[in-house]
């Protein structure tokens, strides 16, 4: 018979109609392999239907369920109860919304605002190289691809931006910077000057101090700090 945990979740609530925020505590019993999104759902069904939270794919692919759990940005759809207890050594969890975007209600934030940073870094080829005559597509060698393939796993959950030592006021953010760095490393990209203007600016990589919190919290295990360091080294 699997173990059951007695959990205490203290969740930051926000009511936009009254512009009031407060902490609300919920006590619930949960099995070890329930995820935090399951806990939120359990709260909605059993304790409080008004708690608002966000999720979409619930398979750690969309990044819409990012929240701070005991101060650490994490995907609520990926964190199992037993892993959370093992990681923090407690059964009491304080859950707050991420601060990379304005809060809409409770744990739901305006992801469009957060995505504005990524859009500014142009996560596409600005000026693709012309195809060689007679070719219908580009061939990127496995060696070239292996240099940046890891970074393409980024799901823009903004956990890195949330954890960053520079905060997220003046820095475009590790994920947005990395989106541009990946395209700098892409042999098909010719619009590199435009990318460097953003990367080598006061809101670009000069705000990165290699605290490596981004790599530490990344749910996709991307060594984000490595890619930002490549930009500092100019090793595109």
């Amino acid at each position: 018979m699997s173990k059951t945990y007695s959990l205490t979740l203290t969740i930051k609530r926000y009511d936009p109609e009254r512009s009031v925020s407060w902490f609300q505590t919920y006590r619930l019993e949960a099995g070890p392999i329930l995820r935090f999104v399951d806990l939120f759902r359990k709260i909605n069904v059993e304790l409080d239907a008004t708690l608002a939270w966000a999720s979409s794919c619930e398979h750690a692919q969309c990044g819409s369920c990012s929240v701070n759990i005991n101060g650490r940005p994490m995907l609520a759809c990926e964190l199992l109860v037993e892993n959370a207890v093992a990681l923090f050594g407690v059964t009491e969890f304080k859950i707050t919304p991420v601060s990379v975007a304005p809060v809409v209600r409770d744990l739901v934030v305006d992801w469009e605002k957060a995505y504005e940073r990524v859009h500014r870094s142009k996560p596409y080829l600005i000026k693709p190289k012309k195809l060689p005559p007679g070719m219908t597509g580009f061939r990127i060698s496995p060696a070239e691809l292996s240099r940046y393939e890891e970074a393409t796993r980024c799901i823009n959950c903004f956990c890195c931006a949330e954890a960053c030592i520079s905060g997220n006021r003046n820095f475009i953010g590790p994920n947005a910077a990395m989106a541009s760095i990946v395209r700098m490393m892409d042999p098909r990209e010719e619009g590199k000057d435009e990318r460097l203007n953003l990367l080598y600016s006061e809101e670009g990589i000069y705000r990165c101090h290699t605290s490596k919190a981004c790599s530490h919290v990344c749910p996709k295990k991307i060594d984000v700090a490595h890619f930002l360091a490549l930009a500092k080294e100019g090793a595109f």
């Binding site: 892993n83 905060g167 003046n170 605290s211 919190a213 080294e233 090793a235």
Partner: protein, 275 residues
């Protein structure tokens, strides 16, 4: 998620201690050990800037020998000596951690856990060396020879870093921060060590003035002062640029930092050139 990673790397031997420290353990768990080190780097930098101001103030009394000698008497009090020794630990940590960052960011070194162990090991070794000099007192060394070695080692390191980044499209100020850091990595610990070769009363006004009057050491002290003041100024600007919310407050803070650093630089220049 792979929880085993939480207990690997540099934090593994320190984990049981860190877990007992309420403030640090929170950040080590939620942001990682390097995040804690980054904050230590900032705090140590601020400590060193304050230490620089105190040192310049003490040296300013060189022009009135009686005051200088009485300041020197204060400087051999146990509390002052302990603070000076603690500063050597801070100097070692800040310099070596800066070196780790330069190696990581500009030279592609990714063995960060090993480099961090070296940072803490060498910092402790350096502080022990300074402590030994303090205890032994009155070691004789040629100021010219000492600074010849220290200055050129620092200059070579600065050149190595400069040659790595000079042609990159980085901002000039950012490049100079790295280059000055490499120079200071050798010269600041050397300066502190040099100062404690002869601590206390034996190191009187006359001998101190003789060091500074030598043209070469004067040039060395000037270059160290310029580098240290620039490095501190950019460091403070960088912290302000991270957190200040509006363009107006950032501009205001930048202006304030520039004014303070200019005043400190003028003060240091007068001190070195007019003694």
């Amino acid at each position: 998620m792979r929880l085993e990673e939480e207990s690997q790397g540099i934090s593994a031997p320190l984990w049981p201690i860190l877990e007992k420290m309420p403030f640090l353990s929170r950040y080590a768990k939620t942001r990682g050990w390097y995040y804690v080190i980054s904050w230590l780097h900032r705090f140590s930098g601020i400590w060193l800037f304050i230490a620089l101001l105190v040192h310049l103030y003490t040296l300013s009394s060189l022009q009135t020998p009686d005051v200088f000698l009485s300041d020197m008497k204060i400087s051999i009090q146990p509390t002052f000596l302990f603070l000076a020794w603690a500063s050597s630990l801070v100097v070692g940590f800040h310099g070596l951690n800066g070196c780790r960052l330069i190696l990581y960011e500009l030279f592609g070194r990714r063995n960060d856990a090993e480099m961090t162990r070296w940072v803490f090991g060498l910092s402790t070794g350096y502080a022990a060396m300074v402590g030994l000099m303090m205890i032994m007192e009155n070691q004789q060394a040629s100021a010219f020879f000492f600074w010849l070695i220290a200055f050129f080692t620092g200059a070579i390191l600065a050149y190595v870093v400069a040659s790595r980044i000079w042609k990159r499209r980085h901002s000039l100020l950012w490049k100079l921060q790295r280059i000055s850091g490499a120079f200071l990595l050798i010269t600041v610990p050397a300066y502190l060590l040099f100062w404690f070769l002869n601590p206390g009363e034996a190191n009187g006004t006359h001998e101190t003035i003789l060091w500074i009057e030598n043209v070469f050491t004067r040039l060395v002290f000037l270059s160290v002062a310029i580098s240290a003041i620039y490095h501190a100024g950019y460091g403070l600007f960088s912290i302000a640029a991270d957190y200040l919310p509006s363009r107006i407050t950032k501009t205001g803070m930048t202006a304030l930092i520039t004014v303070v650093m200019t005043v400190v630089a003028v003060f240091a220049f007068r001190l070195i050139l007019c003694v």
